[in-house]
Each structure stands twice: as structure tokens, then as C-alpha cells.
């Protein structure tokens, strides 16, 4: 019970600080937009080609952006040692992770949904008829990225060269997410769209496995 209420309070704090400045959201949004535009310059895809490549490109851009965005979630706590204050106050350190990963998942999801219209227009892929399924895939994938990414950013925050280290730890670990979400998105954007049960099931498995891992080991990631 106190786990959930602690998580809710912490999530409130994460959202409040972010929406006060909106730094993270704006930067990530612009970053991905830039990548998507640059990609179309380099490849100049036709409509059929973009159906094939766009989902993978979209998720790759997303993975890169999130590996930059997730940096700050533990670094922010360092200057004033607020992480220690949190550890002294919460009854279960898992709530610190839960709040952070929920906030990160929410930020990612928000960026994805904001980018979707640009993406649709630039790559000429119709998304409206499958929007609800697409949202579900986005949700599962963002959750997976945030779960593993938050844990890894707790590691990289304590190392040197952290800006480079986080993508290096994150990208190989998140290949399953990249593959599964790109395939699921591709299925939804196909000329004959179908519901990608396999992809979504796979993403769920990934989320559950890594959430369990953080539940078991997260506490040690925060140790001094």
C-alpha cells in the first residue's frame, strides 16, 4: 500500500518538475523530428518503401532519443544528493524506480503521440484506422524502454563517460524491443493491416521480465 502511495507522490514530483520546464520533452521531440527529416533526405523513399522502412526508422530514432533522454533521470538527483533523501523517506526503494520509470514511459509515450502526425504526413502512412492498436504498441514498447533504461541509467549515472555509456549499455539490451515493436508497427501500417498479437505479447513478456528484475535488484542499484 505504502509502495503505491509513495510511487504516486514521487510520480507527481517527477511530472511537476518536468512540466514546469518541459526541457526534456521539447528537446527529445525536436531531436526525433530532426532524425526523421534527415532520414528522408538520405533515402528519399517512395510510398511502398516507407511502409517497409518507416516503422523500423521510427523506433530506431526513438531508441536513440530515449538513450539520451533517460540520462537525466538519476543525474538530476546528484547535485543535492536528493536520492539519499528519497532513500531515507520511502519505505521501499522500488517505489523510486516505479515512479521514475512511469514518468519516463509517460514522457516517451507523449513524444511518440506528438510525433505521429508529422510521421504520417512525411512518410505518407495512414495511421488513423489503427490508432488504438498503435497506441497500445507504443505503450508497451515505451514501458519496456523505460523499465530497462531507467535501471541502466542508474548504473551509468555512477560511471565515467556516462553520456556515451548509457546508449552503449541500452541499445544492445533493447534490441528485442526494437525488433518486436518495429514488426508490430509494420503489421499495423501494412496495406492489409493485421493485429500484431505476437509482437505485443513479446513486448509484454519483456516488460514483465525486466520489471521483475528491477523489483528484485533495483534496491542494490541505488546503494552507496
Amino acid at each position: 500500500m505504502s509502495l503505491l502511495s509513495n510511487t504516486a507522490v514521487l510520480l507527481g514530483k517527477e511530472l511537476r518538475t518536468e512540466f514546469r520546464s518541459r526541457e526534456l520533452l521539447t528537446t527529445t521531440f525536436i531531436f526525433i523530428l530532426t532524425i526523421i527529416v534527415l532520414f528522408s533526405f538520405t533515402f528519399d523513399p517512395t510510398s511502398d518503401e516507407s511502409r517497409r522502412f518507416a516503422p523500423g526508422l521510427f523506433w530506431l530514432a526513438f531508441l536513440f532519443a530515449s538513450s539520451l533522454m533517460l540520462q537525466s533521470c538519476f543525474l538530476r538527483e546528484q547535485p543535492n544528493d536528493t536520492l539519499s533523501a528519497l532513500r531515507l523517506s520511502v519505505s521501499d526503494p522500488f517505489s523510486i524506480f516505479l515512479a521514475k520509470l512511469a514518468a519516463n514511459a509517460l514522457f516517451l509515450l507523449l513524444t511518440e503521440l506528438l510525433l505521429l502526425p508529422f510521421f504520417t504526413v512525411m512518410y505518407n502512412v495512414p495511421v488513423l484506422p489503427v490508432l488504438h492498436w498503435l497506441a497500445l504498441v507504443f505503450f508497451l514498447a515505451s514501458l519496456g524502454i523505460s523499465i530497462a533504461g531507467t535501471a541502466l541509467s542508474a548504473i551509468s549515472a555512477q560511471a565515467r563517460m556516462r553520456e556515451l555509456l548509457l546508449p552503449l549499455l541500452m541499445l544492445p539490451l533493447l534490441t528485442p524491443i526494437l525488433v518486436a515493436s518495429a514488426e508490430a508497427t509494420k503489421a499495423l501500417l501494412d496495406r492489409a493491416p493485421y493485429v500484431p498479437w505476437a509482437g505485443m505479447g513479446f513486448l509484454t513478456v519483456f516488460d514483465v521480465v525486466f520489471l521483475t528484475a528491477i523489483w528484485l535488484f533495483g534496491e542494490y542499484l541505488l546503494e552507496e
Partner: protein, 225 residues
């Protein structure tokens, strides 16, 4: 010293015997002829590498649980040896693929996931170089090692599910898929030899890591004077 040299000699002998067996004792395979003989080395190395990584995973868990330096040393020893094995796998794979499939590399399930596995453990070793304080390095890298190992089957699953354009690798059905009895004997002998090699290498690397810890202590003492 004598014991280790003897162990080394035994390992070299076993490796030689395994190579001899796969060249001269194993019967010629019908479709791939002589080329198939890479299999005994290639697949056995992959098995031994997986064993090394598994021991490393257990060592990582034990470190997080017991916080004893020896588990950290074993963890890094296993990761390095496992990485060496998969380097061999990634080198012998393309050498085999070129004459067999006509290309060195294909984004096939096994190749791709092996490569990602390799990258994961390179990251693990890189992470270790980037954390100064030994206890923290041990703990954080052990945790990353645990995450990486959990990730391995998921990576295999994902890539297998969606990324296999090629038929299942040509002969490597493993035992039970109609492998000739002599072939399977030779194969398992290879697996045994490679496991001996891996254990030998892990032990050597483990000693190095222990020595390093000792060196740190002596160095600190010297600095204190």
C-alpha cells in the same frame, strides 16, 4: 605452478585430439563434405561460451548476495572467457558461411543474436573500466551482467521469431536430428575439450583478477608510507 602447466598441457592435448577426431575420425558429411568439419569446433565453442557466461551469471548473483570479492573476480573472468569464445564463434561462422552460403555474413537469427550477445558482454567489460571505486564497480557490473544474461534468451527469441529469412542452419540440428553416431561422439568430445579449455582459461583469468586485488592493497600500503 607445476599443476597449472600440467593442466595447460592436458588442455592443449585435448584440443589437438578434438581437432584430429573431427578431421580424421568423423565421417564425411554428404552435402557439405569436408566443410562440415568446422561444425565440431564452431558449435562446441558456442556451447562452451554459453557455459562460461552461465557461470558468470551465477557468480554475479552470488556477488550481489554475498558481496565477496572472489565472486566479482569469477564474474569478470567468465565474461572475458565467454567473450573470447563468442569471438571465435563469430570468426569461424563467416568462414563457414562463405563457401556454404556464398556470403560471409547474413542477418540470420543465430548470427545476429550471437553478435548482439557479443556486444552486450563487450559493454559489460567496458562498464567495468569506467567505474573507479572497486566495490561499486563490482556491484554495478554484477547487476548489469545479470540483466545482460536475462536478456540473452529474449534477444534469441525476438530475432528467431522475426528475423529468420534463411532455413535453419544447414546441418546444425544438434544431436537427435539424425546426426551420425560417430559424428555425435566426435562432437561431444569436442564439447568436452572446449569446456576443459574454458575452465582452464577462467582459472587463469581468475588468478589474474585476484592478483590485481592484492596489488591494489600492496600499492595502497606503499602509498601510505
Amino acid at each position: 605452478m607445476g599443476k597449472r602447466a600440467l593442466a595447460g598441457a592436458v588442455v592443449v592435448f585435448l584440443m589437438g585430439a578434438a581437432a584430429y577426431a573431427s578431421f580424421y575420425i568423423a565421417p564425411e558429411e554428404k552435402t557439405m563434405h569436408v566443410l562440415q568439419r568446422i561444425f565440431y569446433f564452431h558449435a562446441a565453442t558456442a556451447w562452451a561460451g554459453m557455459t562460461a557466461l552461465f557461470i558468470g551469471f551465477v557468480a554475479n548473483l552470488l556477488y550481489v548476495w554475498r558481496r565477496e570479492g572472489k565472486w566479482d573476480a569469477l564474474g569478470v573472468a567468465c565474461a572475458e572467457v565467454g567473450l573470447a569464445c563468442f569471438t571465435v564463434v563469430l570468426i569461424t561462422g563467416p568462414i563457414w558461411a562463405k563457401p556454404a552460403w556464398g556470403i560471409y555474413w547474413t542477418w540470420d537469427a543465430r548470427l545476429t543474436s550471437t553478435f548482439i550477445l557479443w556486444l552486450l558482454y563487450v559493454s559489460y567489460l567496458l562498464l567495468r573500466t569506467l567505474i573507479e571505486e572497486p566495490d561499486r564497480r563490482a556491484l554495478l557490473s554484477a547487476l548489469f551482467g545479470i540483466f545482460a544474461f536475462i536478456d540473452v534468451p529474449i534477444v534469441f527469441g525476438a530475432i528467431r521469431w522475426w528475423r529468420t529469412q534463411h532455413p535453419a542452419p544447414v546441418i546444425m540440428g544438434g544431436p537427435g536430428s539424425g546426426l551420425d553416431p560417430t559424428m555425435s561422439k566426435v562432437f561431444f568430445f569436442s564439447v568436452f575439450a572446449l569446456h576443459c579449455l574454458v575452465v582452464f582459461l577462467i582459472n587463469e583469468r581468475y588468478r589474474l583478477e585476484k592478483l590485481r586485488a592484492k596489488f591494489e592493497i600492496v600499492r595502497r600500503e606503499a602509498e601510505a608510507i
